[in-house]
Amino acid sequence: MKFRDFVVRDSVIAELAAMKKEDALREMARALVDAGQVMDDEFENIIKAVLKREELGSTGIGRGVAVPHTKHPSVDRLVGTVAVSSQGVDFNSLDGEKVQLLFLLISPPDRPGDHLRALENISRQLRDETFCRFLKQARNKDDILQLLDEADQNQFVA
């Protein structure tokens, strides 16, 4: 699965304003609502579900990356968004570092395979330090989208 298969382009955030976990999740989910991919009346419900997942253990996976996610019946396909934070968000990551790259994933409950393939893609791309560094340095939406497109064309992974 490629980034373009699940990242909603209009919802990508280049300068995340939030510095705390819940605020960051709200900002990102709101972007998905604004992009027409998540229904407004499901917004609070989705935030609640994502936070509940975080209670099981932070999705901050190290290297300044977090992959908050939930299954939710209101989406009929996997939708995701990407946010870059220059100052970093406190995400209670395992390594104690703030996160600068956030990938929010919302998937239909009956499609665990899609969720896995999105996680696989994100983690494979982020293993490449150049991609990871460039993405953290991206300061506008076009730069982020271009990097994701280049990653989709295998320009980073050997």
């Binding site: 999705t59 996976i61 990356v65 992959v67 996610h69 395979g113 969720h115 896995l116 996680l119 983690s123």
Partner: protein, 116 residues
């Protein structure tokens, strides 16, 4: 110090596959051993102590995974990881499914207060 190499194959049986929380569990368990631990699926070989690398396996339910440990505590490491994947994780999933079912039942039968 004696170097031992131990190898075992497991089949992922939980419905969600090698998702993030499982990757965290494996990395934490593997991190408790001195041995070098790698997980292999098809031609992919990744560091068993790295969450990001483990997620890169994209292993779904039914995937065959070879667990390999090399080092002074390789045998113990393999035992611990195979036990985690073959027993603890399916048990945990069963418990979570039961808990989710209880939640659903509660929602299906609202208390009189909620029914109004």
């Amino acid at each position: 110090m004696s170097e031992i190499r131990a190898v075992r194959e497991v089949v992922l049986s939980n419905s969600q596959g090698l998702h993030l929380r499982l990757a965290q569990l494996i990395a934490a368990r593997a991190g408790g051993f001195q041995s070098k631990i790698v997980l292999i699926r098809n031609n992919d070989q990744v560091d068993g102590k790295s969450i990001i690398n483990l997620l890169g396996l994209g292993a779904a339910k039914g995937s065959r995974i070879v667990v390999q440990a090399e080092g002074p505590d390789a045998d113990e490491a393999i035992e611990a990881l195979v036990n985690l994947l073959e027993r603890e994780v399916p048990d945990l999933e069963r418990q979570e499914q039961e808990a989710a079912q209880r939640d659903t039942q509660r929602n299906d039968h609202p208390t009189p207060d909620e029914e109004r």
